[in-house]
Amino acid sequence: MSIAPRLESRSITVTRSGRRIVDDAAISLIPGELTILAGPNGAGKTTLARALAGLIDCDGTVTFDGKPLQAMPLRERARALAYLPQGHEFHWPMRVDAIVALGREPHSDPFSRTTDADRAAVARAMAAASITPFADRLITTLSGGECARVAIARALATEASVLIADEPTASLDERHRLIVMELLQTIARQGAAVVAIIHNLALAMRFADKIVLMNEGRVVASGPPQETLTPERIASVFGVSVNRIETPDGPLLIPSRAL
């Protein structure tokens, strides 16, 4: 049995200054699955994620439910795909609920008022990310982990069927990393197609339904975590040797030394 992919890309190539940053990459995101995009620095993960989100020009095709993304109007695309960029930028000291409400922008026109549906979606997103208690606080007063959850809630508020998250766990402590990963998994379980760029191989192994491994612009492996993240492949792609430890939560990969 196979479920039709929600978002599918075929032979994506992104060239900048003559260099192929993403080279002939294919990726398909299935509803209900958490896909993790892994690979060393400079592998082209962020560029591929931005191409999937339709934010940059690329060769090849990205389709959403079979329709080419390039042909979709901007706002329709914004309702279909939520994108969470790296680094959680918040440029103004706005209130948390106002920031989460930005996720509803694709649903409103410039002159319409906030609807009950918007308010309900914002409340759901804040509850899912456990940030309801600080809805009325300014973003500048929150910790890094709280900001990361606000950013995710903003992306959730769109209630898009695809979520593309670029390093949502970067610079978070262990507990918040797990909270964010569990949240992404829950979103997928509720029916969204989720892809996240994750550097930590242990987290990838533990939470991914599927791993897409990139190196030097190419997708070098794609599939279930245990088949994809083999010690040999990790050695060749990341240049590290790993120890694999069996735990009650599944196998754990611990990098031991740089090769």
Binding site: P85, E89, H91, W92, P93, L102, E105, T114, A151
Partner: protein, 336 residues
């Protein structure tokens, strides 16, 4: 767009303040008129009083209102686009560039002061300055790059003015340019109002179109684009909108600066930082500030009227320094 009841009340109060200052402005001058006679002079022919109110005070008051609103809105819009409360047209020489272009047209005899060529020249000058800044600031629009590029562009506009003064065919033109650069609303007629107003209104409309885009841009350009904002189009609309407004304003009133910095900052403490919500209040506050400044220059007991551009700079620059002082932690952090 949503606005809660208290902020709507505040906006109404700001609008009422603009109306009140407009009335005071019509009453104030070497000859003080009570409210009743101002009204009579406006609606019926009262001889000298009508000439003073209709032909001398009304044009300068309307220009102060229009230009103040234009600068307030232009400042709020640039700040929204660049996600930076220190962005202001005059910080990267937009008024100076507009003044240089407009004065060059007059200095070298291409057109008279009331020709539409003057505002068009001013708009072209502002377009170059604002367009260059937004292009250099680029996708990330970091504080350091924006401010350094602004400094360079302001210096370039200054150099262009120096060149025009240098090449001025006679000293009277050089003097005229020098006075223009001080910025003034003195001795303006309704012809000036009609010359500049259409461009300024067009600027307001172009800038207002971007309100929700500014709000989404609070999350950075990629996130805004993913929310359906056409970032490239927003950038172009803001550059053209600011250039139209600043160019037209400078063409009739000379280089008036810092209203675009002060007005949005003042309203932000009451309306919060939402870049869309501060736009209308910033325009109203800009209008109120400039009318108030224009009343003030008439009240200061000096033999020669102080130019309004001098007043706004004298208030604006210390204000800017205070803002830098308060934001210095952020400024020190932004190394990129």
């Amino acid at each position: 767009m949503t606005s809660s009841t208290p902020s709507r009340l505040l906006t109404l109060m700001l609008a009422a303040l603009v109306v009140a200052l407009t009335i005071v402005s019509l009453m104030t001058g070497p000859a003080q008129f009570p409210l009743g006679s101002v009204w009579k002079a406006l609606v019926s022919d009262q001889g000298v009083e009508t000439i003073i109110v209709r032909d001398i005070r009304l044009p300068r008051t309307l220009l102060a209102m229009l230009i103040g609103a234009t600068f307030g809105l232009a400042g709020a819009s640039l700040q929204g686009l660049l996600r930076n409360p220190l962005a202001e047209p005059s910080l990267f020489g937009a008024p100076q560039a507009a003044a240089a272009a407009a004065s060059a047209i007059m200095a070298f005899g291409f057109a008279s002061a009331l020709s539409v060529a003057v505002p068009l020249g001013g708009i072209a000058g502002a377009l170059l300055s604002v367009g260059a800044l937004v292009a250099i600031a680029g996708r990330r629009a970091s504080l350091t790059v924006t401010l350094l590029a602004g400094l360079a562009l302001a210096s370039l506009a200054g150099a262009a003015i120096a060149l025009i003064l240098n090449l001025a065919p006679n000293p009277f033109i050089a003097l005229e340019i020098a006075f223009w650069l001080l910025g003034s609303l003195q001795d303006r007629s309704m012809a000036h109002v009609w010359l500049a107003a259409p461009f300024m209104v067009a600027s307001w409309l172009l800038l207002a179109l971007n309100a929700s885009a500014f709000r989404a841009l609070a999350l950075g350009e990629d996130a805004a684009a993913s929310l359906g904002v056409n970032v490239e189009r927003t950038r172009i609309l803001v550059v053209i909108g600011v250039a139209l407004g600043v160019g037209a304003a400078v063409s009739v009133a000379g280089a008036i600066s810092f209203v675009g910095l002060v007005a949005p900052h003042l309203v932000r403490r009451f309306y919060g930082s939402d870049p869309a919500r501060v736009m209308l209040p910033a325009a109203l506050a800009g209008a109120a500030l400039l009318i108030a400044a224009d009343i003030a220059v008439r009240l200061v007991p000096v033999p020669i009227e102080i130019k309004i551009g001098v007043v706004t700079a004298l208030i604006g620059v210390p204000f800017f320094l205070a803002m830098i002082f308060r934001e210095r932690r952020v400024l020190e952090d932004s190394t990129t």
